[in-house]
Homo-oligomer: 147 residues x 2
Amino acid sequence: MTDIPSEAAILAWARLPRAARIALGAIEADLKAAGFPPLGWYDVLVELRRAGKPLRPVEIERQLLLAQHTVSRLLDRLEAAGHVERQPCEADGRGQVIALKPEGQALLRAMWPAYRASIAKHVGAKLGSSDAEELARLLGHLLFEPN
Amino acid sequence: MTDIPSEAAILAWARLPRAARIALGAIEADLKAAGFPPLGWYDVLVELRRAGKPLRPVEIERQLLLAQHTVSRLLDRLEAAGHVERQPCEADGRGQVIALKPEGQALLRAMWPAYRASIAKHVGAKLGSSDAEELARLLGHLLFEPN
DNA sequence: TAAGATTGAGCCGTCAATCTTT
DNA sequence: AAAGATTGACGGCTCAATCTTA
């Protein structure tokens, strides 16, 4: 494996964080204007809902590809806002388990229509549907290829 | 234009910030391990070198798609580290002009081999060259399509 | 020793306000 | 009024250390 990336790889790399920052900024601005919290909250809550049961913080970390301390502080805020609850973990005394509260479920339901519309506006409208599929596929390579 | 994005658009959106965060984190970790500063520094310096002349902060903002205050603080650090110099702007008394110093040029030259190798490892190695081209093209849609 | 999780300190980006010049 | 740029206060992420249990 060479140390010299192709020109195409360099260009793709240069655009990747920029495109992510622009889209994320635009979508978060929409949500904020509608009175909603940052997307990190949504990501955690939706993960809990998908699981259908309380999760360990370490499971959330792996799913969202976030660092331990980042998740820990995110959970601080979510708990303070009443969306989740930390419970002792029966299976492992070191750990805890994070339970989704009804308030968190309600937040997910309230946010989704605005979030969905913002995705349509800032992502969907800029890509044909075959382009969107292709983009998802290529990003998947970056996410799932082993180092 | 609909408020309902396609499933493909939703998936592409979900992966975009995650892929960017993973790649950025991995590349910055490599650079940091080699004793180099964050990539934001490189981005600003390379923009100044490409221009071949001092730039206004507002030009840097537009090129890097960053906010005014973000660039202002980045320039604080770059100036404190001796890589750039703020000069008064002759054409517009409100503004300034940012000049690249030899130390900044030297940092660019020193960083590039490590940076390039890290791009190859974390981006190039995960995409075939036609995939890299395609990814760059699709990200371009997200970046350059009007709102 | 290693793994799950938290915490204090510090850095960086953001918000809102401000200043100067156009 | 509007545009370029900066600044104090603050929120959130990161680093390194720490604690507890496996």
